[in-house]
């Protein structure tokens, strides 16, 4: 899913410093799964903001609501009678949410409470890691289900580079060298030819490099 981290409280406080009445909108999608913007986290953020503003002597009225998702017009629609009642609305959804809201309600101000980071999955409770860079031309099957575009710091297609040591990437001991993994697997399974052949340069047009993207299912468009 899409993974995000909550912005520092000071940054969020700065966003709403001129306001007295705000709505925090959570999302039951990805941000709930990575425990940063669901119902619970909305409640926690609301409490923290109220505490901070009470301390300043300028109380903030905070209302809370969590939508099914913030990436579908039918759910964005559900707040149409509410949004105008606030000085501003804080969205805890990924970067998509505040944008959909802004487009649907151009008269209102929407603020992102989280920094959206990557597409990933859980390694265990409370830990998520990046797995996909959304390059638009998936080739993980060439590398035994391991993606060098997303997981190699240099997105090499002929790794590992000379900086790989003890299975770790040169940039940090906390980052595994995916090429070390790929190559060891290929060697173990006697398929070293898969990684000793030259692959053509990647066509980045299908990635964000080619410009903002659109995906259409012709069979569903009305």
């Amino acid at each position: 899913m899409i993974v995000a981290d909550r912005k520092p409280i000071q940054e969020i406080l700065e966003m709403v410093k001129d306001y007295e009445r705000v709505l925090i909108l959570g999302c039951k999608g990805c941000v709930t799964v990575c425990n940063v913007g669901g119902d619970k986290e909305v409640g926690i953020l609301a409490s923290i903001l109220k505490i901070a503003r009470k301390k300043e002597g300028r109380p903030l009225e905070v209302h809370e609501r969590t939508l099914e998702r913030q990436c579908d017009p039918e759910y964005i629609d559900q707040v149409k009678d509410q949004v105008s009642q606030y000085d501003a609305v804080i969205s805890m959804a990924c970067g998509v949410g505040p944008q959909f809201l802004s487009e649907a309600y151009p008269q209102q101000r929407f603020y992102p409470a989280v920094n959206t980071t990557f597409f990933g999955g859980a390694l265990g409770h409370g830990v998520w890691v990046e797995r996909c860079a959304g390059c638009g031309t998936c080739l993980i099957h060439y590398f035994d289900g391991l993606c060098p575009i997303a997981r190699c710091s240099k997105s090499l297609l002929h790794g590992p580079c000379g900086g790989s040591a003890k299975g770790k990437c040169e940039i940090s001991k906390d980052v595994e060298c995916i090429w070390d993994k790929i190559v060891r697997k290929k060697m173990e399974e006697g398929r070293i030819e898969d990684v000793t052949r030259i692959r053509p340069a990647k066509d980045w047009r299908t990635a964000r490099d080619g410009g903002p993207r659109k995906s259409v299912r012709e069979e569903l468009v009305q």
């Binding site: 520092p8 409280i9 926690i44 409490s47 505490i51 901070a52 009470k54 301390k55 109380p59």
Partner: protein, 114 residues
């Protein structure tokens, strides 16, 4: 045991500190408590195995959040003791009450309009 502990401490009983939620602690501060602490079993002796460890992490989270909001993180604390340690219970209560006294009233308490 009929030991004394400060009357400023209000006790809320729960089956396990693992039941304590981040919001419970935040709301306490939000609603004007000068301090809130969680008293759980000794580590390794939780009746429900890991409840007190979860509580410890949640207390850490709340301390950090309070710091970001400009409130002293010392107002929230985690303590561990066994159910039979009556004197320790009272001691903790005194310790926390003293700490809060020196910190002063919570800055969150409504300021009178100027």
């Amino acid at each position: 045991m009929r030991l004394n502990y400060p009357s400023s401490v209000k006790v809320i009983q729960i089956p396990c500190t693992g039941r304590v939620d981040i919001l419970h602690l935040l709301k306490a501060i939000e609603d004007g408590a000068d301090g809130v602490y969680v008293a759980g079993c000794l580590e390794g002796e939780c009746h429900f195995l890991t409840g007190n460890l979860k509580a410890k992490k949640r207390v850490q989270f709340v301390k950090k959040a309070l710091k970001e909001a400009g409130v002293e993180p010392e107002r929230v604390e985690m303590f561990n003791l066994s159910a039979g340690e009556g004197p320790r219970f009272a001691e903790i209560a005194r310790e926390m009450a003293d700490r809060i006294k020196s910190l002063g009233p919570s800055p969150v308490r409504m300021k009178k309009a100027a």
